[in-house]
């Protein structure tokens, strides 16, 4: 009988190496495997975070290498928190976040619920619906800019056709009242499929037997929906909100492509404002403090949210 492959490898391993390996504890071997990841995590995530924190207490400008860097204490934080412009960008971000999450959850769940029903062409429709999220945000931003064109845009034409208004009488990205909604519409169009897929996974994880038992108890469809479907899909929905919330808090590319933050400051979300401070005005210390404030905000909110999510899951 021929020898097995592991057997051959074991015999081929030189004596000292084998002895060294066999002398290691499980814990040591685990550390050897984990160490590269921990090192990378420290180098790529933790060190920059600590460095950013340090910079946030200075007046450093990275484009002024010849100027001395001075310790300014909490001055950067004070200036940011007292800057009405920054609070306006926070409001713009909150508005965008709230409406995109609300619309995406509502439409995404509805689509998932419809797709979950067995019908002809189910797979084809699923593929068609998820197409937008496969596109690059830069491409999406560009072609929606054309769709929103007052003179030639399809969006304006359709709205004009349905409402009777002159398509060139309004501009989605030039009007202060419409511009935030222009971005919300595009983000919803692009990312609702993602929410739908998560909801679909939740719906398909509900055992059929629970519905059968409810049928035996003569529970109405309406009651089944609220007492079985919604509670069992809720952890998935909350996960979708977490993913989309974090993504949309740092929304950048779509807004830059569509409105560039305008008109005025109407759609200037925090990520664009931060980028301008850091890489256009080159206020490195100030923008580091800004980044730390945003980090603490997102981290704090996400921690509270994850706790709530775990509570729902453990029910």
């Amino acid at each position: 009988m021929s020898r097995t492959s592991p057997d051959r490898v074991a015999r081929a391993t030189p004596g000292p190496v084998a002895r060294r390996l066999t002398g290691l504890s499980d814990r040591a071997i685990a550390w050897i495997f984990v160490a590269p990841t921990i090192f990378l995590l420290l180098a790529i995530n933790i060190f920059p975070l600590i460095w950013t924190l340090r910079l946030s207490f200075t007046n450093m400008r990275v484009n002024r290498p010849n100027e001395p860097v001075e310790w300014v204490g909490l001055r950067n934080y004070q200036r940011i928190l007292n800057d009405s412009g920054i609070w306006e960008t926070m409001q713009a971000t909150a508005h965008f976040l709230f409406w995109t999450l609300a619309l995406q959850i509502l439409i995404g769940f509805t689509l998932a619920w419809l797709i979950n029903r067995k019908f002809r062409g189910n797979d084809l429709w699923t593929t068609i619906i998820v197409l937008p999220m496969m596109l690059s945000p830069a491409v999406v931003g560009n072609f929606w800019t054309f769709l929103y064109q007052p003179q030639i845009g399809l969006f304006n034409y359709v709205v004009g056709f349905l409402s009777g208004a002159d398509p060139s009488s309004f501009s989605m990205i030039a009007d202060v009242r419409l511009a935030p909604w222009a971005i919300i519409i595009v983000d919803t169009w692009m990312w609702t499929p993602f929410v739908m897929l998560i909801c679909l996974a939740g719906l398909r994880s509900i055992p059929e037997s629970i519905y059968e038992a409810a049928e035996c108890d003569r529970a109405s469809k309406w009651r089944q929906f609220w007492t079985i479907t919604v509670p069992m899909v809720l952890p998935f929905l909350m996960l979708a909100v977490l993913f989309r919330g974090i993504e949309n808090f740092k929304m950048f590319d779509l807004v830059v492509q569509l409105t560039g933050g305008g008109p005025g400051n109407t759609t200037e979300v925090t990520s664009i404002n931060l980028k301008r401070e850091a890489f256009e005005k080159w206020r490195t210390g100030y923008s580091s403090a800004y980044a730390i404030i945003l980090f603490v905000t997102v981290f704090g909110l996400a921690s509270i949210y994850v706790k709530a999510l775990n509570k729902v899951k453990s029910r």
């Binding site: 484009n63 290498p65 007052p150 202060v176 933050g261 305008g262 005025g264």
Partner: protein, 439 residues
């Protein structure tokens, strides 16, 4: 010191005539991606043939040009040996040691700044302004001016209607008020079965667009960047009542006479609108004129060019254009300087103009045949004689972004009043200069 050492090595190499005979270097020239850049590639072939050096080019579209190239300079990158950087960068690049100082080189090679158009020397080469410290050779003269549909203006029925309405001929405007009247006249008009609009003006928010547009009006209403007697004294100059009136004028032009949806337009959008026959006039830098003149739809006799019209407070136009500098970090300073020496020659500058590049060399633009060499040449000369430029301080980016925000917020978004916008601008700029220790 480091720069001086580099220059010494380079100057020694050049003075021994070693540039041509020395080893062939690969030089990378960084600039914006636009029509003149293509002309420069064509022109630089002569340099490659003569010097043996190989030229590579890194061109970045205008909206991202400053971001990309200032990142490169600030990070000490080695991508660019030569930089045709924006005029506003000169202060920062000089003070942060990003460009080589060229005074000694110019002296050694007999290149005199007196040979170039004064406005381009002040705008593109000097830092501090008004002092003979040179960090660039004027490379491309540019200025904001206007292009108009000469063929539409010449139509008898439009001429008659305009004369009846305004009591004068439909012709290039002699004042800002006349400009607005013409724009109003064309707004929403049906020409050859197509709705056309008055004018395409700069409204872009992200980089520098609306500032480069609105300053053409503000200057002519009396706006000043600072007290001429006391540097960095802003109040009453930036936000004077006349300046506020100028800002109101720009908003009224935007409200009455631009194509729908043109709330974020800069150079390329204006060109597209004009070439596609959407607008009767467009505000744009002079660099577009060769392209307009050669265009199949609007070129030749169908287009004309005029200088930014005067207003109640004076007659100025926004300076554009750039100088060419040697990046301090280059590994090939001698070859880079050899390029500048070659580029400064009169023959090369003449060819530069013939290819569509706007030479800033006096002997080229003052040549008797220059004004008639192209239909836009005289307008270019007249415009270059009245230029003003934005701040070129090291903190120019903060100053520019504040102006972009304040002006866009008033003109496009319609928030607040013109006076409030300019008062806010004074606050922002004061804060910047206080941070800089200049106030």
């Amino acid at each position: 010191m480091k720069n001086r050492l580099k220059y010494s090595v380079a100057a020694a190499a050049l003075s021994f005539g070693a540039a041509g005979a020395a080893q062939a270097d690969d030089l990378t020239l960084c600039w914006a991606a636009w029509d003149p850049a293509n002309a420069l590639i064509e022109l630089s072939r002569d340099f490659e043939a003569q010097s043996g050096h190989k030229m590579s080019f890194e061109f970045v579209p205008w909206p991202n040009f400053a971001d990309r190239m200032l990142n490169e300079l600030n990070s000490g990158g080695k991508l660019c040996d030569l930089m045709i950087g924006d005029s506003q960068w000169i202060g920062g690049a000089a003070e942060n040691g990003q460009y080589l100082k060229l005074n000694d080189f110019f002296a050694a090679e007999g290149i005199s700044m007196d040979d170039f158009i004064p406005a381009t020397v002040a705008g593109y080469s000097e830092w501090p302004k008004g002092t003979p410290n040179y960090w660039a050779l004027p490379a491309f003269g540019d200025v904001v001016g206007w292009t108009y549909r000469k063929d539409w203006f010449a139509r008898p029925e439009l001429q008659a209607e305009f004369k009846e309405k305004y009591g004068r001929d439909l012709a290039p405007p002699a004042s800002l008020d006349e400009l607005k009247q013409i724009a109003e006249f064309f707004q929403g008009r049906d020409i050859d079965g197509k709705t056309v609009y008055g004018a395409a003006i700069y409204t872009e928010r992200g980089s520098e667009g609306i500032t480069m547009g609105v300053t053409n009006i503000l200057y002519n209403y009396g706006f000043e960047y600072q007290n001429p007697e006391k540097p960095y004294d802003l109040a009453g100059f930036v936000n004077s009542a006349q300046a506020a009136e100028g800002l109101e004028f720009y908003k009224s032009l935007y409200d009455c006479c631009v194509p729908p949806g043109s709330s974020d337009w800069y150079m390329s959008e204006n060109i597209d609108a004009y070439k596609s026959g959407q607008v009767a006039m467009q505000m744009n830098f002079a660099f577009i004129w060769p392209g307009v003149n050669a265009d199949a739809n609007v070129g030749g006799d169908r287009s004309g060019y005029f200088v930014n019209p005067p207003g109640p407070g004076g007659h100025f136009a926004q300076l554009g254009g750039q100088g060419i500098s040697v990046v301090s970090n280059t590994d090939s300073p001698d070859a880079a300087l050899a390029y500048i020496k070659w580029f400064a020659q009169e023959d090369v500058q003449k060819k530069w103009w013939s290819l569509g590049g706007y030479s800033a060399l006096k002997s080229v633009v003052e040549d008797p045949g220059f004004a008639t060499s192209q239909p836009y040449a005289q307008t270019f000369l007249d415009s270059m004689a009245i230029v003003k430029d934005f701040w070129a301080d090291p903190s120019y980016a903060s100053l520019l972004l504040s102006m972009q925000q304040r002006v866009h917020n008033y003109v496009i978004a319609g928030n607040g009043t013109a006076q409030e916008a300019l008062d806010g601008l004074v606050e922002d700029w004061t804060e910047v200069f206080e941070d800089e220790g200049k106030l």
